[in-house]
Symmetry: C2
Subunit: 347 residues, 2 copies
């Protein structure tokens, strides 16, 4: 009976089992995957804010497979590191300084994870495991923010997805993200980290050029016309999906880093976003940039892109995240305005 009781107790969540640094005027932040678009904006925003959760940011470590650009205007200690997260030793070195907050954004993207099965599992699953194991073995309990993805969802999907809807990924990338969520939850439950997984909406408008992602056109049909260039629409205008701006994604990560997790329970959150059809996106573009911008879009149907995006989530009812204070843009015009505010000088 004694033994049975001992086993039973351990099933329940326990608070962080390692000492956390005392509250004070010191904050060390690690960003894994810091060279990516979100990682770069996050680093700069943190530096611009100067503090996180009312603690002055005194040290920041930026890591990626290619060298991240250090944020400008930081008066603390900045480390810029490159390496392969699939190497456990690298993961150990990354967390040796016991950062208070870890943002884990690193991933092989969906197209590449699908084409290179081994690389996807090695980085997206193995790298995440390495990072969590390095933290557990080092023996500290950071706030750990993991960026998950709508790719964890597979068909059939309801028009509006509730918080308790099953993750049935139909890509290796989505599978690896769903596994990461499970690990973050279990390591948090066991008191090794204080983690949250955020299922980010699809991020638009991404600055830069079209990329290999099947979702790339969602950004380019707006970005290219806003910059006076033509764009191709491969799907019907009725196609509906779930969006947030890069600035909002950064805001979600910073909000999650400051959240009280005592009553959180399951550590994965569906996030608020803007549910919009392509037609609604184009109407917003027209409102902001005029008919001549919208006229730069040419419809060139691609049945494969249509089939893929047709299987994606159309909208969510993210009740838990909303109750925790996460808030999305109020519509697509705001998403476009957010791009112009941030990148307007690129025109």
């Amino acid at each position: 009976m004694g033994q049975r009781t001992r086993i039973s107790v351990a099933f329940w969540p326990i608070p962080c089992r390692f000492t956390q640094k005392p509250m004070g005027d010191q904050m060390h932040i690690l960003i894994v995957g810091a060279a990516g678009m979100i990682g770069q904006k996050l680093a700069q925003t943190l530096v611009d804010n100067g503090e996180l959760n009312q603690q002055k940011i005194t040290e920041i470590t930026l890591f990626d497979v290619v060298e991240p650009t250090a944020p400008s205007g930081f008066d603390g200690l900045a480390h810029v590191l490159t390496g392969d997260l699939a190497n456990p030793q690298i993961a150990h070195e990354l967390v040796a300084g016991k950062p208070d907050v870890v943002f884990h954004l690193a991933a092989v993207v969906s197209g590449e994870a699908e084409q290179d099965f081994e690389k996807g599992y090695r980085i997206n699953m193995g790298g995440t495991q390495n990072l969590l194991e390095a933290i557990r073995h080092t023996g500290f309990c950071p706030r750990f923010l993991f960026t998950s993805s709508l790719a964890v969802f597979g068909t059939p999907l309801p028009d509006v997805i509730p918080d308790n809807f099953n993750a049935t990924p139909q890509s290796s990338y989505g599978t690896q993200k769903a596994i990461g969520e499970l690990l973050v939850n279990d390591y948090s439950r066991k008191g090794f980290i204080d983690g949250i997984s955020l299922r980010l909406p699809t991020i638009v408008i991404r600055p830069g050029k079209p990329n290999k992602a099947a979702s790339s056109f969602f950004s380019s049909i707006l970005r290219e016309p806003l910059n006076g260039k033509p764009a191709t629409l491969p799907v019907p205008k009725r196609t509906r999906h779930w969006f947030a701006s890069p600035q909002m994604a950064v805001g979600f990560l910073i909000h999650a880093a400051s959240l009280n997790t005592a009553e959180l329970g399951w550590r994965t959150l569906n996030l608020p976003g803007v549910s919009a059809s392509i037609a609604e996106m184009i109407r917003a573009l027209q409102r902001v940039a005029g008919r001549e911008a919208a006229d730069l879009i040419t419809e060139t149907p691609d049945p494969l892109i249509e089939a893929i995006t047709g299987s994606w989530p159309k909208a969510f009812h993210p009740a838990r995240a909303k109750a925790l204070g996460f808030e999305a843009e109020n519509g697509f015009t705001q998403i476009i305005q957010s791009y112009l505010d941030a990148e307007g000088n690129t025109k």
Copy 2:
């Protein structure tokens, strides 16, 4: 555009990418975890049937960490092997003979996985990965049956759980099973295996002695009185849960091994079972074995066991599995009768 199209195609399920053995009078079956109660009953049932999916069973490989007992009356080639599935080399050796069907039942049980964090991940997650990777590298495409568990579910739960309900495990064991399901789905989608994960109901009546599992009392409150011995009930009689007999679990596995998977989609199934309260279980015991058997049960409340079992699934609406021909017992009396038929001579 060509590149985009190539990526897109790969997201869709593809049939087995390795040659499967031609249909014929040859069937090699591998059971990983063959020393356990279900593994032993499965091996004997397969040998008694003589065939699987209308093919004669000519070779059977039984593997476990302790030596499995070989089934009696088998006139084919039987291999009995022991080893550590966490060793990738062992996994490679296991599948070198390219078995047509792999039953992967091996797991560190929930209590042990909770107490020994590393061992749980090493065997339940790492072992499953090793087995899948060994199959992928060997280059054949077996039917792969993975036994998952109700432990993938966590609170809050509806009274009746639909097929699309989220898996939010609250134990390391449940986490590892949920990860196994995701891997089986992705390896199947990529054509490396032809896999199905079965979320087995809680198995009662387990023969033998009470064990360390929190669920142990579900069997012992029936088994002990059926054998004239006293038993302790640690939870209220209103406690409701989801059950199947060991014989039914074996039947589910064999049914799954013969299923047409062409239209299956998501490779994880919630299975039919009997939803019964403790009061209903005791009434069934009384019907089968009389009031004197039921009187052997003493209520000794254990708040921890009550809290744990109170968080477990009470019932399912397993529409997909039922449409695929899986059928459960029609009530608890049949579950008790199944035990007496199989184990009656142990009294």
